[in-house]
Amino acid sequence: MSNNILDINSRNYNFKSFKLNTLLVMKKISFFMTAMLFAVTACTLDKTDYEDEINTVVTEYIDYEEVVSITKDQYLINIVALNGTFYKGYNEIRLNITNTDTNENVNTSDVTFLPLITNYSGNSTSCPHQYNLDYNTVNDYYLGYAVFTEESNDSENWELYITFTDNEETHSVTQAITVEEQTNMNLNMTSFTADDGEQYFIALVAPQKPAIAENELVAGIYKYNQPTNEAGTFPDPTQFSYTEVTDYTLLLDPRMPEPSMGNHSSLNNEDLTQQDDGLYYGVVNYTMTGNWTLNFIFQNQYGEIIKGTEVSTEFTPGIEGARSELHIDILF
């Protein structure tokens, strides 16, 4: 209830001069207020544009574009990848073969795909890849992947060895390619020898552009198969065999390594397990932008730890966070 209001202006004081002064003051006040009204409608500091903020260090590529096209006799082979570029790390490969005589897509072929890198002494190695490409009937292309383990440089070059069959005839082509540096750390990869003596590769597939949110974390995990037989005719695929690791588990502990963040972590993260498409899926929560380390512990199908160390969960302000021996650094 509006009781007890004592109006300060209800008392009248004698007023004689001061009028002019006050008038001036009033005028000044109104001028001042008008000026202020204009001044204040704009903020002193601009708000952060969240989209721009996330885009600062991360470029997201959505479009698949042609990386290279190869002509072999009457066949035209197109290789398509994200942004028309092969990057170090995981690359989805889409391949089209067209018979230019008939102008028809070749879609019943057995296509094999083998990337090899040859160093200055002539030794060739490969990288995790899908050797026999699958035909995707929905989108009409052959689908596979390659996890390039190194960028192209002056002394080491990548070449693709592709074979395909058409009309019961096998054709093979070789094409030099360039593998570029992956600047998006969210698609980083790592390779290591685990306690079982095998060589493994972990490559991040998604998210390309993480958000301060719950992110589905997708990784490919591969293993190098030691050849059991003598090398045949080059390139002998048995010498360069990689497989997707099945039914392993990748335990996840994401943390911010920045010393001032004191080993900050997030919650509700989920370990990566293999799904039907062969890739490993988990959940990572990023609570803010910046540098994060994905600390991993690698378990085989029997639940045995074959790589990775547990990291401290202590909050340690001022000290750079310790990383697991198996980890991938990301930045967004």
Binding site: N9, T22, K47, L267
Partner: protein, 662 residues
Amino acid sequence: MKRLLIIFTLLISNIFVNAQDTNKKKDSIIALDEVKLITVIKKKIETEMKMAVSVDEFLASSDNISFIKRGAYAWEPLLNNMSSERSTITIDGMHVFGACTDKMDPITSYVESNNLAAIDIKSGQEGNMHGATVAGSIDLKRRSTPFSLTKKWKGAYQTGFEINNKQFFNLANASYSSNKFVADGSLAYRKAENYSDGNNDEVNHSQFTKFNASLGLAYKTSELASVKVEAIYDQANDVGYPALPMDLWLSRALITSATYKQLFENGLFKALDTKIYFNAIEHYMDDTTRPENLVHMDMPGWSTTYGLLSKANIKKNRFSSEIQLNAYNNLSTAEMRMYPQDRSERTMFAYSWPGVTTTFAGLSINNAWEISDKSLLNFGGSLGVNYNHSKYVEFNWIFHPGTPQEKTRILPSLHAGYQLNIDNFNFSVGGGYGHRAPSVSEGYGYYIYNSFDRYDYIGNPDLDNEISYEGNASAGYANDKFSLQANVNYFYIKNYIIGRILSLGSPMNYQSIGVKGYTSLDYSTLFNFSLNGSYSILDNLHWKGTLTYARGKDENENNLPFIRPLSYQTSLHYQYNKLSFQTSINGDLEQIHYSPEYGEDQTPSYTIWNLSADYTFKIKDYKTVVQVGAENVLNEYYSTYADWGNIPRMGRNIFTSLKFNF
């Protein structure tokens, strides 16, 4: 017109006269006035002691207000020992929301004592007129000069100096009124340096600078109607918060409104008052003056509110009612950007308020029925719809996966009170029921660092409404010389919202020791008691005393934080011609019922003695008052139960001020 206004005012106030007599304290609007005998009853020590008070100091003179203090500036008012999200704090009914996640800018920090006429404090559900509440409402009433038949100029200028923190202030206000047009304006500037505590040690980072200006223009469009536009601009620079790990670089507020008022001579409706308003607040924290901080962090915040309020007054015979429609839309956004030690590295960014919209619409009705000359029944209710939307809901999903982006709540409120006046005795009894929605921080806050308990706080969008059941009673006796009044209220609050330690997640701010999530306790209870007495020993010698006690407990009988221990204030006022002297003693007893769980430690008792004297004289017909006084005369070193981080209060402070009225 003026006559009509007066008649109308009389009509309206007539029904409240009884209420006023029987219910002095409960709905006290305290006039911001100079020391005047007539107002002494309404005011307490600090304003009696001091004629140039800040809004905070002034609010402190109410029984049911206490403060969380983070320094010398922008104290957070606690009504009925409840934190500020439980009360609605408005300026002339306008909702304004602070832009700081750390509550460095309560609304009371965006006004100045010389643009306010009064502060209307209502306890509990009686304060539901401006929106849903649990604790009550604090409405800051702007100075508003009425139309006058003759042209009139009025004004005041006040200046002063406080020695302890070298605070220098200048306050000026002027008004012009005529039959058709009224203008009110005010300017205020305060600048203070660090204060010193009772050990004469300087409390670093306790300085402040504040500028405030206001303007109101009213025009009478017809005999019974007027329009009014008003604006307040407030700017604070370089404000230190010694209890916090950061200071304020700049805060600015622009608070504007346009009002249309229509009076009616005949019929049921007596007045219709409609206001549209807009206010924008920006708040930028600054930690660059704190080299001890490991991390440099930018923490800007913005709060923008649009609103409408429309009020109708109805009166018939002994029945009167006030109906008010409130609607507002607020967008609160706050960011944090941490800088890595290697500044070339990427900064770390997150929203602490991820673009949270609050839209509220509610209808409130308060009725007064004068049953007889001795008794009065008040009853009322409100129904509101509260809608929240989080723009970047993915932030909320981190702790609350899948929580909806939008949330709508229905907020009902009911209250009733009966007042009885028999001879010199008065009694009242009342009850209330009401819901409130969680605040932006409680619902959507994201890693908001609380330096009191050193936890990062996470909001929960799925919190239930807080539901309050309250009862209140008062009894008093008053005669010409002596008065004694006791007030008591009790709150049973279901789903009481408070931060509880989360075993999930790890802190983000390097000072913090863990993460707390806002959760609902099953219930908590709060009890407030106050006893006021006054006695006119001689015609010109008056005594006044107050005793308050409060107790707050959670569902497990543990203490709630920030509950004021037994506190007392006693003052004497002596008038000798144009000289007047005031002296007062106030203090709290030892805080027995503290809450370690919420970061409190036991605060020892303290007693403060204050003195002041003023002299009124005329310079060429202009009334002039000069005042000299001292607060904390004995230079006691103390901090109160609600001083953030036990930051010591100001030691001995000698203040002087001079006021001209014309």
